[in-house]
Symmetry: C2
Subunit: 369 residues, 2 copies
């Protein structure tokens, strides 16, 4: 048995926000959730404000979302949504603002506090008394796919890792994909996020939960990214390519909405948490060692869809676009593997993933000296 579910309406193309104002306005008062700079630098915030002001829809901008949002900040965002009477949310940014919006949407209508019924950690239950606020997503990076998944990945300082929640109402109602918002990204950010999208597609296709409803989408996404590998290396991404990469990234999100990810992601979280390595880059360091251990035609399918000759060539490509940014000790690897082996997506790995195996993968990862 397999399933397919992805209720988000996706609108793709230049000026799609300006040209589809009705799809942006899901209510009478908006909370815009974004990072410190991504909304402004990308031009997306200006487009959104233009549409809202034109329609006389009041809005508040919450631009305090940090990279890797922490759960207590999200509850604060929920309080702000209540205080300003927002009845819908517009998320602008990379994975962090989009994941933050999903959490804020829950906290906004399920009041959390010391005396409240709804405790901070109840968000991980995935079932809430009140439906989250309806939400729109405008990604400003092409990697996370969060705009079409129900997942929100939050950071938990006391568990020293990230943890995700999801519920069917955490899907965005609408997602706008416009290459104008990603065309000015710093090259390394474009690369890291493209590698993240690649990993979603690869981990979905090689996943234990891979099915006829995810396989063909995964290969389509990889084919699209494959067209732009040279430009990602040289840094010559044109506007059209940026829109195509946003679409490929959304396909990655659609795939993992069906399959989930694997140990590449759960192991990558530790690199991000302890070494501050950007999420996509962290996955990129690990994905070759993950693939190497899979005994299936599916690895060749992925590499072939990317238009790359061999798994070794794929490794070389990753080494070129992902510079080494730090090193690690044996002790660190032991700590990381202890946490990462407990992750839920370990079960989706196509082979038996043990702590010993994860230690091996960390050791041989592209991060090493």
């Amino acid at each position: 048995m397999f399933k397919f579910h992805m209720p988000t309406k996706v609108i793709v193309g230049e000026n799609c926000v300006l040209n589809n104002p009705k799809d942006l306005m899901l209510g009478k008062s908006a909370l815009i959730v974004t990072g410190k700079s991504s909304g402004k630098k990308s031009g997306a915030l200006d487009d959104v404000i233009f549409v809202l002001e034109n329609a006389k829809i009041p809005y508040h901008v919450y631009d305090k979302v940090e990279n890797n949002p922490e759960i207590s900040d999200m509850a604060q965002g929920g309080r702000l949504a209540r205080e300003c009477g927002a009845d819908f949310i517009i998320a602008i940014g990379g994975g962090s603002p989009m994941d933050a919006a999903k959490a804020i949407g829950v906290y906004a209508v399920n009041e959390s506090g010391e005396d409240g019924e709804f405790k901070l950690y109840d968000i991980f239950k995935g079932e809430y008394k009140n439906k989250p606020l309806p939400m729109v997503a405008i990604p400003t990076t092409a990697g996370t796919g969060s705009e079409v998944t129900p997942y929100s990945i939050l950071t938990l300082h006391n568990e020293k890792t990230k943890k995700s929640f999801s519920c069917v109402d955490s899907f965005f109602k609408v997602a706008f994909l416009d290459g104008r918002y990603t065309v000015s990204l710093p090259l390394q950010v474009a690369r890291n996020t493209a590698v993240d999208a690649m990993c979603h597609l690869i981990e979905g296709y090689t996943n234990k939960k891979a099915s006829p409803s995810s396989d063909y989408i995964a290969l389509e996404g990889l084919r699209i990214i494959g067209k732009h590998l040279d430009a990602l290396e040289s840094g010559s991404l044109a506007l059209d390519a940026c829109t195509e990469l946003l679409w490929a990234s959304a396909l990655g999100g659609i795939v993992i909405s069906q399959t989930g990810t694997t140990i590449v992601h759960s192991m990558g979280y530790e690199l991000t948490y302890f070494k501050d390595i950007p999420h996509g880059m962290a996955n990129g360091y690990l994905v070759y060692e993950y693939l190497k251990r899979i005994d299936s035609k599916r690895v060749a399918d992925c590499i072939g869809a990317l238009g790359i000759e061999s798994l070794e060539n794929f490794k070389e490509y990753l080494e070129k676009i992902l510079p080494r940014v730090c090193n690690f000790t044996e002790k660190e690897i032991l700590d990381w593997s202890e946490i990462s082996i407990k992750a839920r997506n370990v079960a989706s790995c196509p082979y038996q993933a043990t702590r010993e195996l994860e230690i091996e993968i960390y050791k041989n990862s592209l991060l090493k000296e």
Copy 2:
């Protein structure tokens, strides 16, 4: 710019209704909409009743849906839904019961009558004061794709054709695809409906509105049908093949939800209305002549995805599985083309479709002596 939207949750596989009872029960009282025999013969009605009775959900069975449902009957169905207090609908059957359910869902909550505000034909406006009832679909043929489209095709006797309405709330919430419900279909019905699915995929892929969000889905659907062409010819469709054809048919529905159909469908409606030719068969008579006139690599892509060597071979295949069931006169063709050229989807044809051209296509169709 392109869009993608298909909010229906699709559940595929043997016993999927019995194994996912929560997804079937969208409310507290069900109206089951089905044809005279399809629900019973397929075994789907028994499965549905088993689940509902087990959960003590009251239900009414409306099994009066004829082939090609007429609009006034739908309003009657809506009245019945009100009278029995149904708050959700379960559609079981081919395209007719599913399209009927969509209309009944609208009439149930938007009361129509001589004094009522909501007139019978207001259904074609696509915007309603009250949201249609939530609905579940269980197809018992693998062709229509109606389980994943917002379209409902209704018959209008005073306009001597069919006309469709759609609105975003006309998507089914859930669709269950189980080959057990189609494995006992008469061979010609299996063929006709498979040809209908094929036409959705082909018309979507060659459509003026084809886009990166529909193309790869169309080719995937054609590849799946291609695997089963021999079994469709010989009549040796196994259970697995039936489930795969249901999935391919759903992919066809997903495609036309983005692109709409073309003149194959609008011209086919007349063959159904005036000659009582089953819908899929009618499309099959026309699709070769439609494709022959397209000057694009896309025709070869479709034929190639089916695993067929040439367009001529495709024609031969259709002639084998679609027997001629009647003939027509010059006068009839004039009448049909007069109606069909007015259809909305004429504009989606990849070439300029004129009445003269449609006359040519009818004349040369596989229906001719």
